[in-house]
């Protein structure tokens, strides 16, 4: 069969499909999102976006226990949310296979921390596989189901950004659908209360020993002997970096199974090489395993726990080789990401800025409201924390109630903001929560969610009514504003901060990148009327720049939202033809 160029996440989806996956439930998170998006294109697999990763993992485990091969995917911080069912799922084991994909983000291309998910495999005592390119993504995802059933254990597939988001060649095969296995009632295995769980812990420990023994001879861990002056123990994309930097001048032990790890083949490999390096991004996970077993390796003392590795880093450290680079002596300003031209969040943040409030922020496109010139986010911790941290802030000092708000997107609110809102209502803080409802999960690239009225496949679905939900948990003051209308938005914020009870403002306007959103004609600046006061530039719209002492609007970016028009005191911003 001809080889196809596929992104790692697409290859994982294909591997799951070929491996006979039947039930898929995930929450989007860069760089893992596309796995589930690609799965949703297979009609013979049930797939869904869950409200959060914990729900997704529970759906998948429930399906696996019921006898269907199941999957859930998430980014590294999503595994924090899903960890409870994963830890207990390690004890219950599965019936049909359960594969979990977790995508780490070394270098933090799109994340709030740089955690190393391999620690979860060790802590939860579950097997973890790590592919190094798209072909292995497909192969390991497929293999994951077999291993999960062979050892009666969840199997985690660990990706990193460069594997998840790189395209390389894969060979696709046929689907092996094993159907739905029989479910047999077995409380000793599936009801995790103390008496049963004690028995299961014994099973888990024996399973780890069995898996470690398997890891000594499994085909996922392989040795490539070349020149033995340098030996490299590695896994994932670092294997590719090492091969490019060192080629046949080094020998390799490539671990496809990073937990549990073998020890005999590592010891044997190390004994054959003069100098052994462990090449792994983030924490010294493999390195500590080697050193704990008395194997002399060089790891983090020569490399780093921060950011990504690369072929040139490896060439520099191991071979002392550096590549020449040319450059100009120009001073090059940075280009940080910005809210898009026409983004509905912009008007909301501008209105907040006028109120000079402290803003408890959250995870999504609107986190970009932290950057200049808006600069209107004070904290950003994790999904949902905007709401609960605002409650904490207001309990710390009730004076904060009149000058603090939380901002949270529609999808993030459903993920874990609503629980914080329940806390606000139940434990009575006069908190003002603003839900930025742009009718989509934006930052991860437009996924449906429980508020959008559509399923992952685009079919009609029950939509959560945010107004009714807020009222149902006990918030009486709920109002909706259009963030393109600056006056209305500002007035609403002012009023809700002033009242002596909690309130929810829903700032509602669909993301401007949604296909169904109609764009107005680009606006233009009448140079005769423009006084060059730069009032329109306070909102940080990327379509507006300043040339020859006048504002200029870039017609390729402007969508005619009209927010800048409301800021111009001289009527210099006009509708385009």
């Amino acid at each position: 069969m001809a080889k196809e160029l596929r992104i790692g996440n697409d290859a994982v989806a294909r591997g799951l499909y070929e491996g006979g996956v039947r039930v898929v439930s995930s929450y989007p998170g860069t760089p893992s999102t596309e796995i589930t998006e690609f799965i949703s294109t297979y009609d013979d697999v049930y797939s869904e976006w869950a409200p959060n990763e914990k729900v997704a993992a529970e759906v998948a485990l429930g399906a696996a226990i019921a006898g269907a091969r199941a999957f859930c995917g998430m980014k590294h911080v999503g595994l924090n949310v899903a960890s409870e069912p994963v830890f207990t799922g390690s004890y219950t084991g599965v019936n049909a296979g359960w594969v979990i994909a977790v995508a780490d983000d070394p270098g933090m291309h799109s994340s709030q921390n740089e955690q190393d998910s391999r620690h979860y495999a060790k802590a939860a005592k579950v097997m973890m596989l790590e592919p190094s390119d798209s072909a292995e993504c497909l192969e390991f995802a497929k293999k994951g189901f077999e291993l999960s059933e062979q050892f009666d254990c969840p199997v985690i597939l660990r990706l990193t950004t460069r594997v998840a988001h790189s395209r390389s060649l894969v060979e696709i095969g046929d689907r092996n659908d094993i159907g739905v296995k029989e479910y047999v009632k077995n409380p000793q295995k599936y009801v995790m209360m103390p008496a049963m769980a004690r028995g299961r812990h014994v099973v888990v420990e024996q399973r780890l020993l069995d898996q470690a023994e398997w890891a000594e001879s499994c085909e996922l861990n392989r040795v490539e002997m070349n020149d033995t002056k340098i030996g490299v123990i590695t896994s994932g994309v670092c294997y590719q970096y090492a091969k490019e930097a060192l080629g046949k001048n080094a020998s390799y032990l490539k671990l496809g199974c990073v937990y549990p790890m073998p020890i005999d083949i590592i010891r044997d490999f190390a004994a054959k090489c003069d100098k052994v390096y462990v090449l792994e991004e983030l924490d010294p996970f493999i390195e500590e395993h080697c050193k704990a077993n008395g194997i002399d390796v060089i790891g983090k003392e020569a490399f780093t726990v921060q950011g990504e590795y690369s072929q040139s880093l490896i060439a520099k450290v191991i071979l002392g080789k550096e590549t020449e680079a040319i450059s100009t002596d120009l001073e090059i300003p940075g280009r940080p990401p910005v809210l898009c031209a026409g983004c509905p969040h912009r008007g909301l943040f501008y209105a907040l800025k006028k109120q000079n409030v402290t803003v408890s922020g959250d995870i999504g496109c609107y986190t970009l409201g932290a950057l200049a010139p808006l600069g209107m986010i004070d904290t950003c911790i994790c999904m949902g924390a905007s709401v609960s941290a605002l409650h904490g802030r207001n309990k710390a000092n009730p004076e904060n109630e009149k000058k603090s708000v939380a901002v949270i997107g529609d999808s993030t609110f459903i993920h874990s903001g609503v629980t914080g809102l329940i806390d606000i209502a139940y434990n009575a803080s006069n908190s003002t929560v603003i839900i930025l409802d742009n009718s989509i999960t934006g930052m991860t690239g437009h996924q449906q969610n429980p508020t959008t009225g559509k399923t992952i496949k685009g079919d009609p679905a029950t939509a959560v009514n945010l107004e009714a939900l807020a009222k149902a948990v006990g918030i009486d003051r709920v109002r909706v504003v259009d963030p393109y209308n600056l006056k209305e938005t500002e007035a609403a914020i002012k009023e809700e901060l002033a009242v002596e009870e909690p309130s929810v403002i829903i700032s509602r306007r669909p993301c401007t990148l949604l296909k169904y959103v109609k764009h107005e004609k680009p606006l233009k600046v009448n140079a005769d009327k423009c006084r060059g006061c730069k009032a329109c530039m306070k909102i940080g719209c990327p379509a507006i720049s300043f040339r020859d002492k006048k504002a200029v609007i870039d017609f390729t970016q402007c969508i005619g939202c009209g927010v800048c028009e409301q800021l111009c005191a001289f009527g210099a911003i006009e509708k385009g033809e």
């Binding site: 760089p31 291309h109 390389s168 590549t323 680079a325 040319i326 100009t328 940075g334 280009r335 930052m443």
Partner: protein, 191 residues
């Protein structure tokens, strides 16, 4: 064959991802081993974006490092200067002369440097500058900048014209095909 490296750089939202997909289709059709590395998520929102395309007999690392790129295709002037250190000695740089102010410039915290093209030329780099935006508008849409630039790149490789056209046909939606083929030709025939 030794691995060749192409970098596509620009500003999030300029359509750099389509160009890498198109390049991937061409190189796969030629039977090469290919790796393409993209960036998704936050940095796509108007930030500086980069895509790596590598091909050869056997490609290992999906990323390109300083001094390694045989070609850099830049969708914007400032981005060309930013990523210039990634160009290999003797590599070729294709630059769209479009200028998009980054936020530090918009808010007056920094200045957009003057004479970017000249400064790059002065380093001795092999540079082709082109007003791809005007050519894209001529083809029928400002969004076709990516295909114009791919046309320029195509004219500098030894891969046949027809292979490129087939890839354009396979990559762009049918209703925009005519427009994109025109955009490709405008780039391909640019002198």
């Amino acid at each position: 064959m030794e691995t060749k490296s192409i970098m596509i750089v620009g500003v999030g939202g300029q359509g750099t991802l389509l160009s890498s997909r198109l390049l991937g289709a061409v190189l796969t059709a030629k039977g090469y081993d290919v790796k393409v590395s993209e960036v998704h998520g936050m940095s796509q929102r108007g930030g500086s974006v980069v895509t790596y395309v590598k091909y050869g007999d056997e490609v290992y690392s999906p990323i390109i490092e300083k001094g390694e790129a045989d070609y850099i295709l830049s969708f914007e002037q400032l981005e060309a200067a930013r990523w210039l250190p990634f160009l290999k000695k003797g590599g070729k740089l294709i630059v769209n002369t479009q200028q998009i102010d980054p936020m530090p410039v918009v808010i007056g915290a920094a200045e957009y440097p003057q004479g970017v093209i000249e400064a790059i030329g002065a380093t001795g780099a092999d540079i082709t500058s082109i007003d791809a935006l005007s050519l894209a508008v001529e083809a029928g849409s400002s969004k076709a900048v990516n295909v114009v630039l791919i046309g320029v790149l195509a004219s500098k490789t030894d891969i046949a014209y027809d292979t490129w056209v087939d890839a354009v046909k396979a990559t762009v939606p049918a209703k925009f095909l005519e427009l994109n083929l025109k955009a490709f030709d405008l780039g391909y025939n640019y002198k």
